[in-house]
Symmetry: C2
DNA sequence: TACTATATAGGGCTTACTCTTATATTCTTA
DNA sequence: TAAGAATATAAGAGTAAGCCCTATATAGTA
């Protein structure tokens, strides 16, 4: 019974995915579908490399480049998203005072801001047992003024 | 007057930095000091590459590897830190329901959790004009159970 | 001043990605 | 349902970030 439910759920998601592709003028290819399926079938926040390995069980000839490109496409059409901050070179910060970060997804710029209520977010108790938390922050992503000005022109 | 204050401030930080090095059994080298100075002299969250360019104005022969290593060292002794999530391969997430991420800084594992109060953090008004915010999340870093078990042994 | 431990420069290597191009596939519309 | 146009894919070369190794140099110490 459980299994049947799961299967139906996946079928529904796939249907929705195909619609989403078409609405965005994207073709529904076996590769795209397989990448999407692999991604929703895991909760491990995989890299392109890992997704590629999974997909190759079905489509052995798929290239890593296609997987990577497809994942990026999925993020663009809102069928998935990129885990915050990953995929960029390492960056450092010499400001040790309490502050938070905003990152522009177009130009990659990181801007400090400080909003006192964010300094001491309360961590739910059930996590405190599970992890040794060393850092907690509110992290914002979006488009900065410069980039939104450039885009609209 | 302002300038003088700034200079004193930097001097103080440098003094503190040297102490911090010694307390951690690290030698105070011109390279280390220069990297630290470059980092606290900017608010742009630079990559190792950028810090290297700045430092080379003083020490033209410094290698990128040294800069990178030094920045990592600064983070270890708490004289700086690494911007959350940067420096890792891109990762994707197919779960579109509201949730937040914890990332283990040892093994890199990313774990989902969900704490409803975090779903709709209020963004301060002064930021709403400045940025077009597309995503906001609470992001936690620390050490997971597996890793803290391994480390203690 | 000399000795020991640690740091650095340099260069080669790996990994994660990106770009280019020729071929293949989807979707449309006639 | 066949043909054409637009888009996607595979493959492979190219690039950027970061890591590792080793010989030399330097800081801290006694």
């Amino acid at each position: 019974m459980r299994e049947v439910m799961k299967k139906m759920d996946i079928e529904m998601k796939l249907r929705g995915f195909e619609d989403r592709c078409r609405h965005n003028g994207l073709k529904v290819t076996p590769q795209r579908t397989a990448v999407y399926k692999a991604l929703i079938g895991t909760d491990t926040h995989p890299t392109a490399e890992k997704v590629c390995k999974i997909v190759r069980q079905d489509i052995s000839s798929i290239s890593l480049d296609t997987v990577n490109r497809t994942l990026l496409t999925l993020a663009e059409i809102g069928a998935a998203f990129q885990v915050e901050g990953t995929g960029q070179p390492r960056r450092f910060d010499g400001g040790l005072e309490d502050h938070q970060h905003f990152r522009c997804i177009k130009c990659g710029k990181i801007v400090d801001f400080h909003y006192e209520p964010f300094d001491n977010i309360e961590i739910p108790v059930h996590l405190q047992g599970q992890f040794q938390i060393m850092r907690k922050t509110v992290y914002l992503e979006g488009i900065c003024q410069t980039c939104s000005a450039t885009t609209s022109s």
